[in-house]
Amino acid sequence: MNPFATLGVPARFDLDLRALEKAHRELSRALHPDRHLGASPSERRDALSRAVEVNEAWRIVRDPIRRAEALLALRGARVSEGAEPKADPEFLMEMLELREALAEARQGRDLGAVRTLARGIEERSNRVLGELTAGFAGGEAASLVAKVGELRFYRRFLDEVSAIEEELAA
């Protein structure tokens, strides 16, 4: 499936997010199950499966990591997690240390330290997003795979941060 084609939007990394939302909204207006409640069973099934497809495309395209993966896949790169070349050992080491620092902050119930770590990761994540925008504009593919991998690490880190924030607030 080409999620960009499903939504009828251009296949690029720096999408106009408002136009994307609008695309999803208009297709939902045509396909959402609520619009076909009184219809025949086969029409309902048909609308449902297409609505599901549109929502799946939207889930992919609006998320920078999945959007990058989809673009790389369109350019023939292998991007599913695990199928990629191993990440740079220096990067892995650094992430390991940051995760340890996060675990320590959690143990010490130090919400301030948790948030400082999170801000650092958010900045790095934003930087990589900028690099991806430039890279995709330049038509690259292979060199971008590692950057998407980096983003996945940051995402997981930030997910853990929000879980810890909740735990410490409870």
């Binding site: 009828g8 997010l17 199950p33 609520d34 619009r35 025949s40 048909d46 889930r59 997981r156």
Partner: protein
């Protein structure tokens, strides 16, 4: 009343909206394009969600049950919503309360069961069905013929809790048009009244649940961006916090009290909370004991930690939606507990703007549900308004090392589906265990287990050779089905994820039969009534389709479809539900290709309409009109 009378082809069925709340429930419908709550004979719209079981087998619901509560503390189930879809050993079910629970024996389903007067055993689904039955009756007294219901649930309700709510509705003889998330319902009530576009937060603190929802209203589409909350946090917790204070002041040990005293203290605590909405202090008097002074400052202090829990959920929802508080256009308050001044002050502090509360926070959810019911039943402005909702919690499956692999992330728009592929770990492995989980944490133990099943019969192969494809599907009610398939052999298995709280389809069907006066015979009549309604809807939709897209018909197609319509119409006048169903299937087959072509046209129009608009925008740009871009 017999069910046969429900089917009256002349009286138009009226769709209703139901807010099945923790503390109060109510029912509403749309009258002259405006939603209104339906009052009972005492002109009260709120029905306390309280059910008393008396030993003669009588069941009392609402205010009368509330009055019976002090004398029947164990037989009166209050706030049953807290127990919906929960296990008997869930800590939530064992908090301060006067009930007698029945422990699940090994091998028995892990369902909450209450023992009430005369030794009768009831489940939360049955208790909720009593409340729904009372609401249905109230609606029928007013409208005569009730068509179908939209029932609201907290956005944060998990799969088991949603399924339990749907089962309760079936048990009460209600056709569920849709389970609707409460905050979305509130926005619907607000949006249609005010017709304003923008980004809103709905802060919903009810009796037993807290929900926060970030949504965008744009051109009649309500799109939920993020949702969060706590399905075990609400006004009841405030009552409990004050109750602990009262018990301590009176020198009691909260852990060792009679059900009667606990009930009295909880009631007194609730009264004190209500009084403190307008007063600076209140004298709480537990009958038979000295009075205790509770000041608003003391109240604010004991509930502060509860408010901070809501703040954490709000911050996360904003982060998920990619928004800062100052980007919001408004904050909508829902739920009786938002009347508490400390809550309003906290919301203002959190979002930096005074919240909106123009519509009665106790009624707004039911009013929104009525609007949605009206839209779904085809009476309303279907072409203008649409709700796009999301799943509140991530769904995933267990992979090696007790880690969860998220398959559908939280805040995915529904309906949705996603696939993931796994392989076997050992040589000659013939079974593959699928463990379905809901939650945000990395480790299995920190998430909620929804279901486990084993895909059996995989032919023996070396490790890593089998390819297992797991598909998650979530429908528009937010209910999950999981499908597992072994790709090299085509072996398949599908489960609807539901029995985690212990009621399978068979049990619900049995309860349904027990609840009907004449069992089987009533059930057949009900099926007949339901198939007639279904047939009527399909005939109407088919005629509309033939009219709207006549140009898409191929030679001979119209004649075949019209014949199938005539056949179906004839069967509706008969008495055989199976025959009606067969004719529905025949019409379905006759229209299948035509329906597909209509769908393609709808998609093309959706995409085309947007292109036209984009061209217009480009023209605007060319004229130098600055376009505000999203981040």
């Amino acid at each position: 009343m017999t069910l046969f009378e429900i089917f009256d082809p002349k009286a138009a069925p009226r769709p209703i909206g139901i807010d099945l709340g923790t503390t109060n429930s109510l029912v509403a419908y749309v009258s002259n394009e405006r939603p209104v709550a339906i009052a009972d004979c005492d002109l009260e719209v709120l029905v306390p969600s309280v059910v008393t079981y008396l030993d003669r087998g009588d069941v009392v619901v609402g205010r009368r049950a509330q009055l019976l509560a002090p004398e029947h503390p164990r037989d009166t189930i209050v706030s049953v919503k807290r127990f919906m879809g929960r296990g008997a050993d869930d800590p939530e079910t064992r908090r301060l309360g006067p009930y007698e629970f029945i422990d699940a024996q090994p091998g028995e389903p892990n369902t909450v069961r209450f023992r009430v007067d005369g030794g009768k055993v009831v489940t939360p689904v049955e208790v909720s069905a009593e409340i729904l039955r009372a609401l249905r009756q109230q609606a029928e007294d007013e409208l005569h013929h009730v068509g179908g219901a939209v029932i609201t649930v907290p956005a944060y309700f998990d799969d088991a809790q949603r399924q339990a709510t749907k089962d309760a509705a079936r048990l009460a003889g209600l056709e569920v048009l849709r389970l609707l998330n409460e905050p979305t319902a509130a926005a619907l009530a607000y949006g249609l009244e005010k017709k304003q576009n923008g980004t809103f937060v709905v802060y919903d603190l009810g009796g037993g649940t807290f929900d926060v929802t970030v949504l965008v209203l744009d051109d009649g589409v309500f799109q939920v961006r993020a949702t969060g909350g706590d399905s075990a946090l609400g006004g009841d917790d405030m009552d409990r916090a004050i109750a602990y204070e009262l018990l301590a002041d009176l020198g009691f040990d909260a852990k060792r009290q009679t059900p009667r005293l606990v009930r009295l203290v909880l009631d007194e605590a609730r009264k004190a909370k209500h009084a403190l909405t307008t007063q600076e202090q209140v004298e709480a008097v537990v009958p038979g004991h000295r009075s205790v002074t509770v000041t608003r400052a003391r109240f604010d202090t004991v509930v502060r930690h509860l408010l901070e829990r809501t703040g954490t959920a709000c911050r996360r929802a904003l982060r998920d939606a990619g928004l800062r508080p100052e980007e919001l256009d408004g904050v909508i308050l829902v739920g009786g507990a938002t009347r508490v001044p400390a809550v309003r002050a906290y919301v203002q502090e959190l979002f930096g703007k005074p919240p909106l509360a123009d519509i009665d926070p106790d009624q707004v959810v039911a009013l929104g549900a009525a609007v949605q019911a009206d839209l779904l039943a085809g009476e309303g402005r279907t072409d203008e308004v649409l709700l796009l909702d999301v799943i509140p919690l991530s769904l995933g499956i267990e992979v090696g090392g007790g880690v969860v692999d998220k398959i559908l992330p939280r805040n995915s728009t529904i309906p949705c589906s996603a696939k993931a592929t796994y392989t076997t770990q050992e040589d000659r492995q013939t079974g593959f265990e699928v463990h379905v989980l809901q939650g945000e944490r990395e480790m299995v133990a920190d998430n909620r287990s929804l279901a486990r099943f084993t895909l059996k019969g995989i032919p023996p192969m070396p490790a890593g050779m089998a390819r297992l494809e797991i598909t998650f599907q979530v429908d528009a009610d937010g209910l999950l089905a999981v499908h597992a398939k072994e790709l090299t052999t085509g072996l398949e298995q599908t489960v609807s994820v539901k029995p985690s709280y212990g009621l399978d389809d068979g049990t619900v069907e049995r309860m349904l039969l027990d609840a009907l006066d004449h069992g089987e015979a009533d059930l057949v009549r009900r099926r007949l009534a339901e198939s007639r309604v279904e047939a009527g809807r399909i005939l109407l939709a088919t005629r509309k389709g033939l009219e709207a897209d006549a140009d898409l018909l191929e030679a001979g197609e119209r004649a075949a479809i019209e014949q199938a319509c005539v056949d179906l119409d004839a069967s509706v006048h008969g008495e055989d539900p199976a025959r009606i169903q067969a004719r529905i299937d025949a019409l379905d087959a006759a229209t299948k290709a035509f329906a597909g072509r209509r769908m393609n046209r709808a998609i093309a129009r959706a995409i085309e309409g947007r292109r036209v608009e984009m061209v217009e925008k480009t023209v605007e740009h060319a004229k130098g009109v600055e376009e505000a871009h999203a981040r």
